[in-house]
Amino acid sequence: MKKISYLIATLFLVSCGGSSEQTKNETPAAETSAKTTITIKGSDTVLPLSQKQAEEYMKSHTDASITVVGGGSGVGMTALVENSTDIAMSSRQMKMEEKIEFKKKSVEPKEIIIAYDALAIIVNPKNKVENLKREQLEKIFTGAITNWKEVGGRDLKIVALSRETSSGTYEFFKEHVMDKKNYASTVLAMPATGAIVETVARTEGAIGYVGLAYISKDVKPVSVSYDEGKTFAAPSVASAQNGTYPVARPLYYYYVPEKETLVKPFVDYLLSEEGQKNVEEVGYVPLTK
């Protein structure tokens, strides 16, 4: 009995663990007689989106077989350099080091933005704070600001919530909002985005960050300013699309020109109306509406 309970717990853990375990969860080949096989490798942030797109694409194109593998943006880029993947998915632009690697092989990889990913900063609905500057967010998460009264709220201790280090949003928030500084040790690390929403909804002093799709009526998103308070933008699909909401990033696909004929149909599908509808379903921001 005990053993079974462990087994069940492990299975749950695996399924909750999300992206990392899904890395090995390769999408099975649709048909053995498949004419085109495409491998996509890279960012775990893009992984759920790529998987969804691949599934939908294979439904209508039975001759295609697409394998999606995670591992991180860097892993995807390395694989592309080594020619062990057809498409590298990435949650950031190519780094200088990676450009150098491609230059060494005199290859100019193509870059395509397939969707946007935006993070909303959420607080408890009882919290009166509506706007926060980037500098204030940085200080909250590095532990320099610990009370809401320092940012215009009432006298209440701030409970800052982050994701675990394994999460793609952990790094994104660190780079985009915290100026690459490290999180304070006192920041609570939540195992899942759902846990952040749940805790913020129940804790008056809490602040956390989640993907746009996770905003619910139990939590209040705050407007963010990246120009020291001149303009504040509220998170929404529209503001992420037109670039006024700053805590957003494009998600990329990279491929080498010689593979163009192979991957083009799939990439075109991604950019089509249907593909962009899938983007919204997975919880990311489509390119245009």
Partner: protein
């Protein structure tokens, strides 16, 4: 015979695997493999610690003066910043001038602190390499800062995590032992047969609930409850984890101590009753002392169960890696750390090995506990004869 050999072999294999992966961590530089830290040759600083590097990148240290150097502002440089200084043409079409350009930067800025791959270092560079302490066992165990993904140098201090694990488990057992013992005494001595037959499966059912379910229950019920009762900022505390673990350890404690209490010889109980002691006095003065080693074994097994528990704790303790000073603070435990971080740690990297080293520490903890149980129960056997 065969099955026991296979089991022993498997256990040994796991231990060897655990320790080989974990021990690779030490004597390594905390800086990413293949990278080096360089400064201007005029800079008197020769040595930096991982903690200092983190402070520099967090912009808490901004001047070399604070590190015993000259009065120069620290300028951070990495390959990715090269485009801030030079155009792509200057670097060359195939980046052939990159090492030379980096080197010229190193010479031009007295306050520069550059971290980049050693393949871009000019072979005859005058820039000075800064040494950095390797990761040591003592530093690993006594360090207070856990930043396994910090750039460019990781900080691996597991003291808060070890203390967090012990703290949560200790409190859990203090909660579970009185309740568990009382239940065991009731079931062994007071309850009639019908009651006992009804209670037994209920307790066994408690052991069969998956730990995520406990965790979810904790997150939805116990966390808000603790937050309300103590009017805290957050209900995700060590106490919440302890209460949850206490519930999870109860079946072990009840079953083992009930068996110990039942093992008290009938003669001893009857002798006590014959001397005029009532039932309660017999329980307190005769049965509990007789079965004390069994009860101790139950308590220790309960601790073992609590120390190794992962999912439930991960969901309710807040997971902040700070040394706990009270019960009402968030803590981070070893199993939760491993479960949460191993998925994304690059295989064979420093972070990955650090998590295995944590696993080794957890293994040693549970092994000590098991040896302790064996010692105590062997004492009982000797005393019995």
């Amino acid at each position: 015979m065969l099955s026991s050999t296979v089991t022993t072999f498997t256990v040994l294999l796991i231990i060897v695997f655990l320790f080989t992966e974990g021990s690779g961590l030490f004597k390594q530089s905390p800086v990413e493999k293949g990278s080096e830290i360089l400064v201007n040759p005029a800079n008197p600083v020769n040595h930096l610690t991982a903690a200092q590097i983190k402070e520099i990148y967090d912009q808490n240290i901004t001047n070399w003066k604070q590190l015993g150097g000259n009065n120069d502002t620290i300028i951070l440089f990495a390959i990715n910043y090269i485009s801030d200084y030079f155009s792509e043409d200057e670097i060359g079409e195939n980046f052939e001038f990159l090492p030379a350009k980096i080197d010229s930067l190193m010479m031009a800025h007295p306050g520069i602190l550059a971290v980049f791959s050693s393949e871009y270092i000019l072979p005859d560079t005058k820039a000075k390499r800064v040494s950095i302490d390797n990761i040591s066992l003592a530093g690993f165990i006594t360090g207070r800062e856990w930043f396994p993904t910090a750039q460019p140098a990781v900080q691996l201090g597991v003291l808060p995590i070890i203390l967090g694990t012990l703290w949560v488990s200790l409190i859990a057992i203090l909660i579970a032992l009185p309740i568990g013992l009382a239940t065991a005494i009731y079931m062994a001595e007071v309850a009639n047969n019908k009651m006992r037959l009804a209670l037994k499966p209920v307790i066994e059912l408690l052991a069969g609930i998956p730990s995520v379910v406990y965790g979810f229950f904790g997150l939805i019920v116990i966390v808000p409850f603790i937050q309300k009762v103590f009017s805290l900022d957050t209900g995700q505390t060590a106490l919440t984890g302890s209460i949850l673990l206490a519930i999870m350890a109860l079946p072990t404690i009840i079953t083992v101590s009930e068996d110990a209490i039942r093992a008290t010889p009938r003669v001893m109980k009857e002798a006590s009753l014959a001397l005029g002691a009532n039932h309660w006095q017999t329980i307190v003065r005769v049965i509990i002392p007789y079965s004390s080693s069994g009860i101790a074994a139950a308590a220790i097994l309960g601790i073992g169960r609590a120390i190794g528990e992962t999912m439930a704790v991960l969901m309710v303790t807040g997971n902040a890696a700070v040394i706990p000073h009270s019960l009402l603070q968030p803590v981070r435990t070893i199993p939760a750390t491993i479960a949460a971080e191993l998925g994304e740690a690059p295989q064979g990297g420093i972070h990955y090995q650090a998590l295995f080293a944590l696993g080794c520490i957890l293994f040693l903890m549970t092994m000590v506990i098991n040896l302790w149980v064996q010692y105590i129960s062997s004492k009982r056997r000797n005393a019995g004869h």
